[in-house]
Symmetry: C2
Subunit: 275 residues, 2 copies
């Protein structure tokens, strides 16, 4: 690829399923010129209850797929894969890769005054303690309290975000935070921003809710600037977006259309195990 080709090459964004669309949405909003190839691993979703070995293997396959699309950079738009696979795969590929955990950790550090931060995420993300490692690597005086909330993802995926049971489950998982003086809570799973207003109502205004998606888009912008690979072709209204999944393309499309600011036209299903 020459320099001009590289500038117009797409960004690869991947997630275990639909959750990463909350990150893609921020990239579309703040880097409107960039083209995006999104992959959702809907055949093997969810990642949050699975092992590090398999999450690394899944991530490698997806990166190999994205490389066939000649992406210029990759965003792991999944907290679990960012926490468990990013360190390993970053060493293996030449194109720059960022995740959502580092940006989320930095945003939380900016938000906290009490130096006490809560993190909610999948079982695998919380077990990895990756948010804690990164936060304490920057400021060792900060206390980090993690809590796995494994039912939040199915609640969102099954359309229970607005149902009353969700309040009880939020209470079940988050009650222990209310007794502490944390003043920032990281929504450490890309599905959780879709529960933001319910979580806000429960925790009140004292606790800032940190969504790593915005900060990740800002990180991506910096990365593109540093490597001089921002897309400067402003002839189109916005970038070109293509969507790939490993299963159930129609269901994905429906969900995507409910959370993206425009309707996506096609989603292609591929066999990710072949990569």
């Amino acid at each position: 690829m020459n320099r001009e080709e590289r500038k117009s090459a797409p960004i690869g964004v991947f997630d275990s399923g639909v959750g990463g669309l909350t990150v893609a949405r921020e990239i579309m909003r703040h880097l409107p010129n960039e083209n995006i190839v999104y992959f959702g691993d809907t055949a093997r979703v969810p990642y949050g209850s699975k092992s590090k070995d398999n999450i690394i293997r899944f991530s490698r396959q997806i990166i190999r797929f994205l490389e066939t699309k000649e992406v210029k950079a990759i965003v792991i738009a999944c907290n679990t894969a960012s926490a468990l696979a990013l360190e390993v795969v970053r060493e293996e590929v030449e194109i720059p890769i960022i995740g959502v955990v580092e940006p989320g950790a930095r945003a939380a550090l900016e938000a906290t005054k009490t130096k006490k931060i809560g993190v909610i995420g999948t079982e695998a993300t919380i077990r990895s303690a990756m948010y804690e490692k990164i936060i304490q690597g920057i400021d060792p005086e900060v206390t980090v309290m993690g809590k796995a909330c494994p039912l939040f993802v199915p609640l969102v995926e099954e359309g229970f975000a607005k149902h009353t049971v969700t309040e009880e489950i939020i209470d079940f998982y988050l009650a222990s935070f209310l007794k502490t003086d944390i003043d920032a809570l990281i929504l450490g799973c890309t599905h959780y921003p879709l529960l933001r207003s319910r979580i806000r109502a429960y925790v009140g205004e004292r606790i800032a809710l940190v969504n790593p998606a915005y900060e990740t888009a800002m990180d991506l912008r910096n990365l593109l600037q540093v490597h001089d690979m921002e897309n400067t072709d402003t002839n189109q209204e916005h970038g070109m977006y293509s969507f790939y999944v490993s299963d159930a393309a129609d269901k994905f499309k429906q969900f995507a259309n409910s959370i993206l600011p425009f309707d996506i036209e096609t989603t292609k299903q591929i066999n990710i195990e072949e990569y």
Copy 2:
């Protein structure tokens, strides 16, 4: 394999994860001489929200794996795979294969007097309408009402079976059945027997709860008799059981030990995508 070797060969039992252990448990109880090789596809669980194409592909890979263990018969201990893949894979392999849907359908037909049967299951199972097809193939006068209950599996897997929110979610899914005169309700997902007492408390005594697991073990017994391949080696207290998963062997073992009548010693993790 000669005749004696075939008799002592194991039964292959598979499921998307741990749920099929409720079927394996019935086989252990009623066919105590039989050896079992169990496979749980924990790397790709759950199946219930995924497409027919992928469920067929997953089932083929698992059958190829079980064939390497020289099983004499296969039980698909997963309603979703039984409903979506059994018809196709049965044509492709020589060893006899049974699923849980046919036995469950027959058991419900025996239980109903009103000729109105309810079925609960995953999204994919209910969409397939396979229970309805089989029931109406036997008795066209029976009415079948299906309802997908996608949150039941995560509730069980996350240990919420006894939590109060489960009652509200049961009410959400099952309220419409109470207004009908169904008198049999098929627990059409291998996880649901683990919610049996909660569902019983909600629907009352008027409705029989049908668990296909027992009937499946009886079907397996018939099948082995017909093919003259029952294991007649009664030297051991019970059969030999081996457990394989595609992810997180330790977590599987823990769950298995909580629902089987004895502690399992080892669970091996394999890469099912290689089959």
